[in-house]
């Protein structure tokens, strides 16, 4: 059975801190790994990773994939209160038309 596990499940930090969110996976026929940010409603797309070792970056957010060790990390530097959200990791499986999601990490940034 395809499985995606995120850690930690919950994280509370102070504004300005740097955080690292983890995602490990066990799937057959890996195609891609995606990170989404979920505030009140829709998961909004952050990154899609398909190759190992290539860092994707967008502002203060960055992510990298390790296909040998089957995990990805999402880093957020200089956190702001607006970064408070649930961060979802999802794996796209080759041929299958679906994403397999992890449980999410609830990130709370205190001022």
């Amino acid at each position: 059975e395809d499985k995606v596990v995120q850690s930690p499940l919950s994280l509370v930090v102070h504004e300005g801190d740097t955080v690292t969110l983890n995602c490990s996976y066990e799937v057959t026929n890996f195609r891609s790994l995606l990170w989404y940010k979920q505030e009140k409603k829709a998961p909004t797309f952050l990154f899609m990773l398909t190759s190992s070792g290539i860092e994707k970056k967008s502002g203060r957010l960055s992510s990298i994939l390790d296909k040998k060790e089957l995990f990805s990390i999402l880093n957020i530097t200089a956190t702001q209160t607006g970064d408070s959200a649930v961060y979802l990791c999802a794996v796209g499986v080759y041929r299958a038309q679906k994403l397999v999601f992890g449980q999410g990490t609830r990130l709370t940034i205190n001022p």
């Binding site: 195609r31 891609s32 995606l34 989404y36 409603k41 829709a42 998961p43 909004t44 797309f45 899609m48 398909t50 979802l88 999802a90 796209g92 080759y94 299958a96 038309q97 679906k98 994403l99 397999v100 999601f101 992890g102 449980q103 999410g104």
Partner: protein, 115 residues
């Protein structure tokens, strides 16, 4: 930026009634999906749809569920006879390809409450 839109945002229905959830995918996308998220649980895949037919469905997507693209813009999920356990947030998503080269983009969801 183009987005996926879903209606209604909240649907309250009596158990046993039929519901139809509606989605307008991003206009140039060809691949459409439904997911659900029961409160406090993971987002779960229900079904994918391309070229007017189901590409894949999960074990959750039983005979009570159906999907349709009734016209060039809408994509619907119908639950024929709702059960209490169907209460969840239902997300529609669309993507520009099936191969995983483009991400799936999600709508804001419909919160379905079965009484």
């Amino acid at each position: 930026e183009p987005e996926v839109t879903q209606t209604p945002s909240h649907q309250v229905t009596q158990m046993g009634q039929e519901v139809i959830l509606r989605c307008v995918p991003i206009s140039n996308h060809l691949y459409f999906y439904w997911y659900r998220q029961i409160l406090g649980q993971k987002v779960e895949f229900l079904v994918s749809f391309y070229n007017n037919e189901i590409s894949e469905k999960s074990e959750i997507f039983d005979d009570q569920f159906s999907v349709e693209r009734p016209d060039g813009s809408n994509f619907t999920l119908k639950i024929r006879s709702t059960k209490l356990e169907d209460s969840a947030m239902y997300f529609c998503a669309s993507s520009g390809d099936r191969g995983g080269n483009q991400p799936q983009h999600f709508g804001d969801g419909t919160r379905l409450s079965i009484l």
